[in-house]
Amino acid sequence: MVTLYHWEPNANSGKPMLTLAEKGVGYESHYLDLLKFDQHQPEYLRINPDGTIPALVHGDRVLTESTPMMEYIDEAFPGPPLRPTDPRARWQMRWWMRFFDAYFAPSLSMIGWSVFIGPAARQRDPAELRAAVERIPLESRRIAWRKALFNEFSEEELTESRRRVVFATGVLEAHLSQHPYICGEAYSLGDINGFNLGYALPLSQPERCNDQKTPHIMEWLRKIYERPATRATWAKGRTQMAARVGMLERAAAGPKRDGGDA
């Protein structure tokens, strides 16, 4: 019996969703609305006292770290393996997941929170928002939410984040120009992680990530989007944010034919 507490197929929530879909593991889905702070409500804090999402419950085990969670899913369930067997390729997969998680993602999400999450949440009553922030269990998350909700990012921080996104995009493009997938020839957890981080890059960074400047990133994203598990996972999205994935649809190669199949 597997239960997953998650938000949209996006970033950390999307990592176990897509991994479970690739493995063909069914799960009971609990959608939590991040913007309504469902993850800080007492019912959820009984599952994960840190109030972070996602959380995976498998029997009596509770897993709350999304990247280690992906490795667990790959090990604990049957289905196609999502990690290479060669230790060197595994090392590369893990190195990239850390680069995505701890370098690329914080900068990209700082920009995302300043332009999307913050303004969306500010539609609500400020007093209510302040009370909601005070209920956040982890101090580091409290600081992050406060910055996003009350637009307290400094210009210096945002400039550095933009620099890092440009730099990391270049590093990823260089890597994918040498390898079709993150750790070589085979699709792996590294690609699942990277797709969750980067599926909307062509929309959020159109000047930096496009068919001319980053053709290998574009091809990689489209290939991943064509996988049935990716389509099924993003179909669970409820908001415009997840719907952005549709821009990865390949344009028709030629003019559409009239009439039925030959």
Partner: protein, 261 residues
């Protein structure tokens, strides 16, 4: 052919030295002094991943030509590649815990420990060097994140603002480690694993660097864990590779603190 580029048996450098000793694997050691920027010399083994590794300065393993960097993932590589006693738990949930500890040690504990050690030992050492030459050496470091870390040490103020911030960042990971070690002998659970090697390498200096945060009284389970580790023959063998005789004073800049606050 297995070669390890390492410094004193402390922090990131200690991890592969200890894991290889646990496994009983022979290797060619290349001792280098990262505070003299030897890791930026043209003949030092490097690839994209080793230059951009997020712990910034650390050991490099070269195995049959393949360059492996980033100390926790290096531990996992050693554990998965070489014969000898297994350093990976067999049970998937214990392996999940092992990975989670690796993440916490790298992203939360590690940066704070490195910052405290640098403030105590490395900053005064750098101050005793000719300033202009030091600044010129630092100015050529790539990537920017590694250069900035060294530049920040040279520019460090005399007050204890940075040390206080590092101490406050230690509180949460130390509290979690203490709780985990109260519940099981090893961090992943019942089996000794690379999670213990990884955490030990970063925790070992804390009773000296932050005695009010880690010590017999405040963290009895961590203290007992450190004692259990010091009793291991592999720990003694790794420590015996010190050239200065004071490995616990060897520090380099580590992972940056979270950019979110």
């Amino acid at each position: 052919m297995l070669e390890l580029y390492h410094w004193e048996p402390n922090i990131f450098f200690l991890k592969p030295m200890l894991a290889l000793a646990e496994k009983g694997i022979e290797y060619t050691g290349h001792y280098f002094d990262p505070t003299n920027f030897e890791q930026f010399r043209p003949d030092f083994p490097a690839n994209r991943e080793s230059r951009l590794q997020l712990e910034r300065e650390g050991p490099v393993l070269v195995h049959d030509g393949a360059i492996i960097a980033s100390s926790f993932f290096m531990l996992e590589y050693i554990a998965e590649t070489f014969p000898g006693p297994t350093l990976l738990p067999t049970e998937p949930y214990e392996r999940y815990r092992m990975h989670s500890w690796g993440q916490i040690v790298a992203l939360s504990l590690g940066g704070a420990v490195a910052a405290l050690g640098c403030e105590r030992y490395l900053v005064p050492a750098l101050r005793s060097r000719p300033a202009a030459q030091l600044r010129a050496q630092i100015a050529t470091i790539e990537p920017l994140e590694r250069r900035s870390a060294w530049a920040a040490l040279v520019a460090a103020s005399d007050d204890d603002t940075a040390a206080r911030a590092a101490r406050s960042r230690l509180a949460l990971p130390v509290q979690r480690l203490e709780a985990a070690l109260g519940g099981s002998p090893w961090l992943a659970g019942t089996q000794y694993s690379i999670a213990d090697i990884d955490a030990f390498a970063m925790l070992n200096a804390l009773p000296t660097l932050a005695p009010t945060i880690v010590g017999q009284r405040s963290t009895p389970h961590i203290s007992a864990f450190l004692e259990r580790m010091h009793a291991r023959p592999a720990v003694r063998a790794a420590m015996a590779l010190s050239r200065t005789g004071r490995p616990a004073e060897a520090f380099v800049p580590g992972p940056e603190a979270s950019r979110w606050g």
